[in-house]
Chain length 362, copies 4
């Protein structure tokens, strides 16, 4: 269970890292929308392995095929099935892991829960499943952009102890893509790249923070009291492999402020719209979007796969020495940027479609 | 929408702050379980307004009535309906707020989304709805304790800049309840209480962090890839009023570690069980519980209600001066402890019931 | 589980026949709708026990209380909680049934499934739970009438072998309510009443057919391929106690026609609308409403409760003689008419709210 | 929306008749189950076009590929993705239907709902989507057989006015498959075949009734009050293309019986099990299986596609003459037998997995 996300923009994901393919079915998407397949592909390129010298060297084209739901390039209201064939599996790299539980991986928990485990390349627990998220998220982005002019921009804010200095108002897709680490602060970006290369050389790995801003989100999205917009965003973000934390607006830093400092004062702007002077709320108040930028941050732990010797146990409860092998990312953050953006896009699109309170009110 | 939480341990909440009552219906709970109604009531006392000099002075008995689902004190498998009558509404305290959008409250977003707003006491957006969570969470706790010996302990970790020094292994229900701020570090607790009183005197408010530990959670809970245990916990926590952040295990602090430092080494303990030496994972790996303590933290912003003059706008887009009135909590954290515990209990109980992978595997 | 119905117009029902109350929470209903509480009450009167000489003599006011979700009489988008207190329980009438499984009742299956059973008045398996359906259905009816001018009319078509001759175009609420059996063919209605009285005298019971017509249903409701409008109607109808069959349009009688006879020829009417000359489809084609009247029929078995001696077994597997006692309906159909209407209204309202294909298409 | 069925045994279906493929993803299935792929294929052969002289002559291999969820032939708990490539599309046969609404087809309603329509071969509204049902149903059957020895047998009970005389106790898979119409009464079967051939010669079509019996269904399946086993079966059956009616047990014929005739008397059998002497309930009481055979019937209208001239309208509201072309089934029932069985299997498997009342009770 658990392979479906969303209530109205509803995706069902399937596929293992070393199986024949990865796929996703999107149900609930409105009809008559012209899908830009090249844009989906370009989003997948941002997630693709082997895209740069700081990512894993697995070689995949990750070329998308749409098998249903379109007619003359437009959506018909029928489910949209998307599929990507896996091509560069090297399952023999994993033979020695067959009975071994890698530390801080899902090997032990999958074995304990299911009594069986696809140990080739991590099987279903591999981050390769995020292809399904990025492909669906691309459609969500297209629809949100066309309907509300919404723009969703993720970027690397911090790698290890290297923190970027970035003003959200200045970032855009181009500045994010201007370097391979996807941090729009080029000076820090170079340091981050060096640090990641060094970690790889040491057979080690790094973590960090991705920030994501959603601009032009319509007012009124979110369904209190449990399906608050920020609650669904938190779930979406925490469901991404290696993510350990989520915050919105002031988040963990807001706790040292007083209420009088933290409250976002309302004013009326030149277009006679109600806006807030500050945005400690991060674009969500009472679980509902207020029209300000949605600003959130996701914490990613350092990649569990390291090319170092580690002690661990096997399925027979023996202590074993595990030697890291195989291709891997010394830091997942650069490739996780499009994944975070995709999950944010899916949640916002889902809530925009769900927003029957507005759609159907008298 | 959005008033139902959980898939198998499924609660549906209703009621406004100044309406006649608050209620919740629990569906999916196993039959033949003896409910301890006094325990539910005692949990509600921990959430109750007016419980101490640092909480709001609204006077409510918050006395629970169970209207269905029990027979001779035992569950029958039928939905359990619980209800609490509101008694100490002072709606006139809110008359001046009828057309005014309080900063960082849900007034503006509710009005924008629904086109109408129950402005008395915050209506549905009031934290009074959390009664439904605490009552249901008490049942979840009882069941988890009886079935797995699970214990769920929340406590105040930080108020403003005051950070407690607490070892998770030493805390227990009694040490948490030993002071009114619910921080088991008594020395810091006293400072916290002073700071909260001072904030009240200034008509201001404070935020902080609640930590929650779940002990004896069975291995195997969580449904990858979207309904991971940590993802559902994140949603549960972010759905609590005033919460702005969530982290599990190493969370935001883990990002400066390397993989070799962060990985939790497996070993085999004296009972021949596979355990980890460290617990940076926070009890969840690959979205599935691994049998270690689940450790999470929730960031709460300072209460939006302050007894100070603030500028804001009204529904006619006029700039108005808002003078704080009414009873309120200068800091929500002491009363939020049982709410956090309740949501954690509900998520774990839900996943324990959902865990058909284990329940039905061949 | 199973106490929630609908995806967008979502009701959660609770309460036992001899418990303190019956209730229902409606979530997902649009805001700003003026609820007519008297209309809800008048629908409940049509379902009420003791309403005529051919129904059970249990005396209940069935007086509705709305505990949440309204503000100044209008919906706010918050969940609407409705409650009815039970008043005329006579649990002692059921003492002798404590360990006995009444034939064709739910006693045996509830005991087998749950290991416990509320034997007082049938507990949760009592048709008294249908109060929740009728109350929610009344709101669905009001909304559909106001939004689309939809009218939903159920009536008794057949009792035992007595078949009414009725033209759907001529029936209306008044003709249905013109007699206590709710059959608009007054001549047959009298015979039905006599037959029911006779059955009661014999301590026996009767079954029959209810037909329901929904007029002015908008084109486009239904979500293929599984959530077809007729599929959801079938589920709704079969979920009513004592229902054993469902058909739409030509139903079971259409099977002897050929395709050339059965096909509904399209034409264009004076308003330039596409209509069909016949309506063997019953208003649904390919799972989606086509704008014609929705016509369905529900088969109800004779009431299982009879006031006759029957052989059965008890929980100890003894053969026992069961003597019928207590108040009961010799024929459920007259009271089931508003229940069928309610379920049809709920399904149509749910699909109207769900119809994002139309609501959001480009 | 509407392309997902089931709560725990959860299938998501996709694909159009003339698209590249039809597929389905099954989520929630237990791990460690050995899937018999040949059995899935053999079930698909029973549904396949071109299987006999009385079915459509479209030629498809309908060869199944499983793309995920298996490891060494066993399920892993991950979603199972199944795919079948379409090969014998003849879209040009449909060119003349581009703007025409075929009577009693889904052309008009799809166009009205979605504003766009895949007119090639009926697109998503084609019964070709039932491949997804039969493939998933085969897995449900395998699991039910292995777990409970459950057997699910569907057969043709009536074609037009030709009614088979069949005792449910005598039928088995072989007798059903002994002739191409899938009616175990061979004498009537021959007449049915002749009648179908004659209808084809006349360019016309026929309807009928399929009966389905599920033997060895465990006691206790079904979730009152809305997700009753019979309610979910009704939905499952009505979601099948061309189905217009459903009944369980005595169904529409039971209405002329009295309660004293209809009630199923309990007794204790030689194995000390509680059984009923008659089975008018059809294996379900109070919405929960009672261990008796589940017996249901589905009414199918005559195929809407006929090879005759018919009047209809086009999308421009012109009256047009429609000449039937293309390959089609003069009677869907023989091929619908495995579809009915599949849907029944899916519902029962879903409820067996859902049955937490039993699985988790104290």
């Amino acid at each position: 269970m658990g392979n479906t996300f969303g209530k109205q923009f509803k995706i069902t994901s399937w596929g293992e890292s070393h199986g024949p393919a990865i796929g996703v079915t999107l149900d609930g998407f409105p009809s008559l929308f012209k899908i830009d397949v090249e844009h989906i592909q370009s989003e997948l390129q941002r997630r693709k392995p082997g895209q740069s010298e700081i990512s894993t060297q697995r070689k995949e084209e990750d070329s998308i095929e749409i098998l249903s739901g379109l007619f003359d390039g437009k959506t018909t209201g029928a489910p949209i099935s998307m599929l990507i064939w896996n091509k560069d599996q090297r399952s023999k790299d994993y033979n020695h892991l067959k009975n071994v539980f890698r530390p801080s991986h899902a090997d032990f928990t999958y074995q304990a829960k299911y009594g069986i485990r696809d140990w080739k390349g991590g099987g279903r627990a591999s981050a390769r499943e995020t292809i399904a998220r990025v492909a669906s998220g691309a459609i969500a982005k297209q629809w949100l952009a066309s309907k509300f002019n919404t723009e969703i921009l993720g970027f690397v804010k911090q790698i290890s102890d290297l923190k970027a200095q970035i003003s959200n108002s200045s970032i855009n897709h181009e500045s994010i893509e201007s370097n391979i680490v996807r941090c729009p602060d080029n000076k820090i970006a170079n340091k981050m790249i060096e640090k990641i290369k060094e970690a790889r050389k040491n057979g080690d790995s790094l973590g960090g923070i991705i920030e994501c801003v959603a601009k032009n989100v319509p007012v009124g999205l979110g369904e209190p009291v449990f399906d608050k917009l920020d609650a669904d965003l938190a779930k979406a973000i925490l469901s991404i492999p290696a993510c350990k934390g989520f915050e919105i607006g002031s988040g963990f830093s807001g706790i040292e402020m007083t209420g009088s400092e933290h409250n976002d004062e309302f004013f009326v702007n030149d277009d006679n719209k109600i806006k807030t002077k500050t945005n400690h709320s991060g674009g969500v108040q009472g679980g509902i979007s207020n029209g300000e930028d949605i600003i959130l941050r996701a914490a990613f732990k350092p990649t569990a796969t390291i090319i170092r010797s580690q002690k661990t146990v096997d399925s027979e409860h023996n202590i074993v020495e595990l030697k890291g092998k195989g291709r891997h990312d010394p830091c997942v953050l650069p490739r996780a940027v499009p994944i975070v953006e995709a999950m944010v896009a899916i949640v916002i699109a889902d809530h925009a479609l769900l927003n029957t309170a507005n759609n159907n009110r008298n």
